[in-house]
Symmetry: C2
Subunit: 307 residues, 2 copies
């Protein structure tokens, strides 16, 4: 089945202990769609400027990603600069030039209206809600957000959360959103805001999915997919979006939707995130095979599997 | 089989968001031995002062812990005060009065010389090494340490590490010890210093065991035992020592020593750590049953188990 991602396409300047790369294709929608493309048909709604050329389009089309929803506007594409020091978990933003992204109003092409799965990458919550309201046939909606909206657009975000099935955020964000420092209690508070499931990303330690009582199965036992920290982290940019792409892409590829599928999806999220950081930008995500992905899935599974 | 722990017995003043408790029995050897006592016969070598009375002895003896190795010295027992704010992962020390612990020179009673397993809790590295050298019949030695010794007694610690089989430390400590911020690379560097296996504790995310090539089995695939953060953390003091008690205690209870045993031990470590933090001091560890322990082992196992 197909999945639609709505989010940013960007050009990034990244500095990490492994070096500096400028003008590399990035953005949440880019990482998400490349990661998801190994599992299912992906469609993108985003906006780019005049500096987005045929070579950038090719990154998507080579992976059979449908980019009819990428709007070409006059001006420059969104640009972001970030710096990672030894602590690779946190980027210091050096600049943000929103450019054409500043006035982004997602338009869903007619050809996309039958899409079964939707992922609302990190954009302004009211824009997220509007997209969701325009996609009536969607079976499951995933959603990301960030500290900036949790602090500055809490009311709007609360409205959006009523419309989504799965929210994917990190430890810091869930605690901030819930006004609660204990993780399981914070998770319960966020689930009460709307989503049936909440995926909390723990960086190099993996992710936990919490369920609302009875959602997608019986009870409310959480599930954890660990990841193994890898020896060579070149560029952590896009790890969370690649996680979301693996998670949502795997779900969209399955005939049924239950907890066992969501558990496996959580592992695939960790797998795609771990590949993304091995090279600068989307380089690694462009050149994977499904065999490599499934081999790493097995490694992560073995990592915690008792006989 | 039996296990000997050498370490501190203390009285702690603890303040956490759940309240304040003064003069509670603590210390690494106390947490360790209570946790290990649910698996095997435990022996303790430590030093206490005149303020250590029959009611404190009873905490050990009720769990059948052999305290013939606890030396009674004139003066006061080691006292520590700590404060946890909302971030329960880190204690701010308010005071440390070493008292009788300052001149602690561990003496191994003759009756303890046949002990098969040894745990060197966090004390000065040369004292740890001396104990190990005096215990020739030991099958496996576990060891803890801390930032203070990594910074201030690196040479002595390096000597100790040549004598131990398993080192148990946390993320920060392993990176500091290896001068390396990438976790898997730091693990390999520490394994090259002596231990055959390295347990890295990740706080609420569980722990990973790294093996030297060929140690306890084939290859060097690491293994992760996740823990589930619990809803009510009253007092994180002693979580690491309780982890070590569960880990080493389970190992000592088994007929054979291979990777499968070490993997299960890692889960039992997480289980005992998670119980310890549910109440102030050792309250929870004093009143457990093996059934409760095995039930939580199953919960942690299910947490990451794919069909």
């Amino acid at each position: 089945m197909s999945i639609l991602v709505v989010g940013s396409v960007a050009f990034d300047d990244v500095t990490s202990p492994s070096g500096t790369m400028k003008n590399i294709l990035g953005g949440a929608a880019t990482y998400f769609s490349l990661a998801a493309s190994y599992f299912t048909q992906v469609r993108v709604v985003a906006v780019v400027g005049e500096d987005f050329g045929a070579e950038h389009e090719a990154v998507f089309t080579k992976r059979n990603i449908d980019i009819r929803g990428i709007e070409h506007a006059s001006g420059k594409t969104f640009r972001w600069g970030g710096h990672y020091s030894d602590n690779l978990n946190e980027a210091k933003t050096t600049f943000t030039d929103l450019n054409v992204f500043e006035s982004f109003h997602p338009q869903i092409p007619k050809e996309y209206e039958d899409t079964e799965f939707l992922f609302l990458a990190n954009i302004q919550p009211t824009l997220q809600a509007n997209v969701r309201r325009n996609m009536n046939g969607v079976q499951l909606t995933g959603c990301d957000t960030m500290n900036y909206w949790i602090k500055g657009a809490r009311t709007e975000l609360a409205e959006t959360l009523k419309l989504v099935n799965v929210l994917l955020i990190n430890d810091t964000e869930v605690k901030m959103l819930a006004h609660e420092t204990n993780l399981p209690r914070a998770a319960q508070k966020v689930l009460a805001m709307g989503p049936q499931a909440l995926v909390i990303k723990h960086g190099e330690y993996g992710a936990t999915i919490f369920f609302r009582e009875g959602a997608f199965g019986i009870g409310r036992h959480p599930f954890r997919a660990p990841t193994l920290p890898i020896e060579e982290v070149k560029d952590p940019t896009g790890a969370g979006d690649s996680f979301a792409g693996g998670f949502m892409g795997y779900i969209a590829s399955q005939e049924i939707l239950n907890r066992e599928v969501l558990k496996r999806a959580l592992f695939y999220g960790g797998v795609m995130g771990s590949f993304a950081v091995e090279r600068f930008g989307t380089e690694r995500l462009q050149l994977l095979t499904r065999e490599e992905i499934d081999a790493r899935f097995q490694v992560f599974r073995e990592l915690t599997h008792l006989e």
